[in-house]
């Protein structure tokens, strides 16, 4: 309700402007101004600010404007930084492979094996709903499942498969990757489902008539056409994992680190310039990864 009245009032202004006979491009500029202003104020300027601050000096309480490269040399010269980056990239690679696998088969099942559109939408919503609820709750919900006295360990012990509870289920890399897959798979399902739904079914029929087996159709028709969706899903999943600190913190029980978690710890110690230098490095890495993927796919065409 609120949404509709909101847009109404905004459009009334727009019409008033139109009665002054503004040119179409002027209208476009007016319509895009709010977006530009908000992204400028809360995205561009803060990032420029980070770039500036990354050259500043600091002590335990304050930052001092300066032009030092110390924050960078300290960050890049530290063995811990490299280890943390490698660890984060390891999570990104593992989560990417697993979500791509799950995401493709789920999307493929929905798009090609469910016969009615209504059923497709219902099943798609079933997948979507958990992603609209709290990430933290979904994360901690693994604790009673994986914990030392959790459901899985109780089942394993009582059925006699293991004599002692399995320790590596929770507070381990395994738990981190599992929780990330749980949190981020939908970001892979949705874009792939979107591209699969746009594949002309007659292409598949034609391939079948020409004698192709199901596997051949999948490998030579469907997967090549699904690549743009996979690319967009990859952008989401990789950037989300690269930015993650909470899952790593909670699910590894403080035993593993990620770049964002390292930044968060620096911030809580008020070492803002050090965190800023880290932020610049992370940002460059992430943007390079995204730019690489965008060379394969034109997002504007895929929407």
């Amino acid at each position: 309700m609120v949404t509709i009245t909101g847009s109404d009032t905004e459009k009334t202004e727009d019409v008033r402007q139109k009665s002054f006979r503004l040119s179409p491009s002027a209208i476009s500029y007016l319509q895009s101004t709010p977006l530009t202003v908000i992204l400028g104020a809360f995205l561009l300027i803060p990032i420029l600010m980070i770039a500036v601050v990354s050259f500043w000096d600091y002590d335990f309480a304050q930052m001092y404007p300066d032009f030092l490269t110390m924050n960078y040399t300290e960050t890049l010269g530290s063995w811990v930084t490299w280890k943390t980056y490698l660890n984060t990239l390891k999570y990104a690679a593992l989560v990417w492979v697993i979500t791509l696998f799950i995401g493709f088969w789920v999307a493929y099942f929905l798009a090609f094996h469910i016969r009615t559109t209504a059923m497709q939408m219902v099943l798609f919503l079933v997948c979507t709903v958990p992603f609209l609820t709290s990430n933290i709750i979904r994360m901690i919900s693994w604790i009673p499942v994986l914990g030392r006295n959790g459901i899985i360990n109780s089942a394993l012990v009582s059925s006699g498969i293991v004599s002692e509870p399995v320790e590596w289920l929770l507070y381990s890399d395994f738990a981190v990757v599992l929780a990330m897959v749980h949190l981020y798979t939908l970001f892979m399902v949705t874009p792939i489902f979107n591209t699969l739904m746009r594949i002309d079914k007659s292409l598949v029929e034609a391939a079948r008539d020409a004698g192709a087996s199901s596997w051949q159709i999948l490998l030579n028709v469907i997967i090549p056409l699904a690549k743009p969706g996979m690319a967009i899903g990859t952008i989401f999943v990789v950037t989300l994992v690269m930015a993650d600190f909470s899952t790593v913190q909670v699910m590894s029980g403080g035993q593993s680190a990620s770049v964002a978690l390292m930044m968060k710890n620096q911030m809580s110690l008020l070492q803002y310039p050090a965190a800023a230098a880290n932020a610049v490095i992370l940002l460059i890495l992430v943007l390079m990864m995204v730019a690489g993927i965008l060379r394969i796919v034109d997002i504007r065409k895929e929407l």
């Binding site: 949404t3 509709i4 905004e10 476009s28 803060p46 088969w105 604790i143």
Partner: protein, 272 residues
């Protein structure tokens, strides 16, 4: 593909899908069940009796901090983010229908807003507010931080909607003598209303559950996800699960209500 007997592939994939759904909902249901833990029960199974002890505990302030206040702030912030996301994304979507200088740059700026790690935005806005001498607060800095996450989603959805939107309807309305405002109000708006409701749902739920961007920008008073995040380290009773159950049920109600509204709008569109 149609009217064939189901293949073996179908059954394999159906099982895979079912396992995926259990994977999505299983842990969540564990939390819901455990929140009804008896007063002496712990954080794991088995249930030590069944009670609503932890739900009543939730509303005693000293047990979990300011749950009521955090909820009210998250609700207000969610509604603010929702309204701004819908209005700004709709306007931007309309703008992108025409070519204008800077359109591509603005589009990629929106995409950048999605891919820039949340903690960087959090840090940047935090430092910016500190340097210009403003006190960060949930309704200013956190509000802006959340918009950098919800707006790109809104813009991408509106972009997709208008990509599929045939200008023929508007031309027809104009031929019948409608002004551009009348065309928008009576032709365009009813057709895109369900998508706008969807954008609103995204805006609200993304804001209501957001915490990575809010973490350094919320100032003195916590939003609900921050409150829960804090609890994960220092609360060791099922009251944490009770809180999880309450906010999840609230999210489900919001989603169900919105989907109902979308179905209703689509029915009305079909009838007219």
């Amino acid at each position: 593909m149609h009217r064939e007997p189901r293949s073996r592939e179908f059954y394999l994939l159906a099982i895979f899908f079912a396992v995926f759904v259990v994977f999505l909902y299983g842990p969540l249901s564990a939390i819901v069940i455990l929140s009804f833990q008896g007063p002496n029960g712990g954080l794991t199974f088995p249930l030590n009796g069944v009670s609503v002890h932890w739900f009543t505990n939730l509303f005693e302030t000293q047990a979990v901090g300011d749950f009521g206040g955090a909820f009210r702030r998250s609700l207000a912030l969610g509604i603010m983010v929702m309204v701004v996301t819908v209005v700004v994304a709709l306007l931007a979507g309309l703008a992108f229908r025409r070519r204008f200088i800077g359109a591509t740059a603005l589009f990629y700026l929106s995409v950048a807003s999605l891919v820039v790690p949340s903690i960087i935005i959090s840090l940047g806005i935090g430092v910016l507010f500190q340097q210009i001498g403003l006190q960060p607060a949930w309704y200013s800095s956190a509000f802006g931080a959340q918009l950098t996450w919800t707006l790109p989603f809104g813009v991408l959805i509106m972009f997709a909607v208008f990509n599929r939107f045939s200008p023929a309807y508007e031309e027809a309305a104009r031929d019948l003598g409608a002004s551009s405002w009348q065309t928008f109000q009576h032709v365009v708006l009813p057709m895109i209303a369900p998508s706008l409701v969807g954008v609103g749902l995204f805006g609200f739920t993304l804001s209501y559950d957001e915490f990575a961007r809010t973490l350094m920008t919320s100032g003195t008073f916590n939003t609900l996800p921050l409150e829960i995040y804090g609890m994960t380290t220092n609360v060791t009773t099922p009251v944490l699960y009770a809180l999880g159950t309450v906010t999840t049920v609230f999210s489900f109600l919001v989603i169900a209500g919105t989907l109902g509204l979308i179905v209703h709008l689509n029915r009305r569109k079909l009838r007219s």
